[in-house]
């Protein structure tokens, strides 16, 4: 009974990771990934590893989505300028 919270959070991690894989569009995938970062941080907390959870929170909730979104934006902008510039 005492491990119920660990089981619940582990199931949430599995479901979130599956959802992240099943999402096709990168910008929507970044939304699921930020959710997964928070769920992983809660898992580390429940497993009594708050130091790991702190770094996971910092990286997972804001930094990874920011990197993905900036990359998607740059790729789209480059594709647009290539289309306008002909063969450029």
């Amino acid at each position: 009974m005492a491990d119920a919270v660990i089981v619940v959070v582990l199931l949430l991690v599995a479901a979130t990771a599956t959802a992240a894989v099943a999402t096709r569009d990168p910008s929507r995938q970044a939304l699921v990934l930020s959710l997964q970062g928070v769920v992983l941080a809660v898992l580390f907390t429940v497993l009594q590893a708050p130091d790991v959870a702190l770094s996971q929170l910092a990286v997972g909730s804001a930094l990874t989505p920011l990197l993905i979104m900036l990359s998607v934006r740059k790729v789209r902008r480059r594709a647009r300028t290539t289309d306008e510039g002909g063969d450029g």
Partner: protein, 150 residues
């Protein structure tokens, strides 16, 4: 397992399942609202877990999440502004429900802690959480248009 951890389990199971369902399906506006809901569910759960494990230092996690969660939502609101302009998400009922749950959890944990420096930290976390939630919801709903154009 004490009552605090039980409450955290129920909050995590119900809230994060709803957030996962919202973030993995539906239009973009719904996904943004669900992503914003994640912070509002996980942060009170971390407070409840800190109280349940009798480890006041775990409150740092909730404090960091209350700071960084709205930042993440604002990143999405800024970088997806073009797609969000078509259909602005509006879920004020959900926002005020989340704020009410956060306030209830903070008050309960404060009452269990008693007046001390730890209680001041809890109150700061609660103010950051509710304030950040309201700011992020307002940004999603289409506030700060002049900022968004830049």
């Amino acid at each position: 397992m004490n009552a605090w951890i039980l409450a955290a389990t129920i909050l995590l199971g119900a809230g994060l399942t709803a957030a996962l369902w919202g973030v993995a399906s539906g239009p973009l506006s719904r996904r943004m609202v669900a992503q914003n809901l994640t912070t509002a569910v996980a942060c009170p759960s971390l407070l409840l877990l800190a109280q349940g494990y009798h480890r006041p230092s775990y409150v740092d996690l909730a404090l960091l999440l209350a700071l960084l969660g709205p930042v993440g939502t604002l990143v999405f609101a800024r970088l997806l502004a073009d797609e969000l302009a078509v259909a602005t998400p509006a879920a004020w009922g959900l926002t005020w429900t989340a704020a009410g749950v956060s306030a209830a959890v903070v008050v309960a944990v404060c009452a269990a802690t008693g007046p001390s420096r730890a209680m001041v930290k809890l109150l700061v976390t609660g103010v950051l959480l509710i304030g950040g939630n309201l700011v992020a919801s307002r940004a999603l709903q289409g506030g700060f248009r002049q900022v968004r154009g830049g």
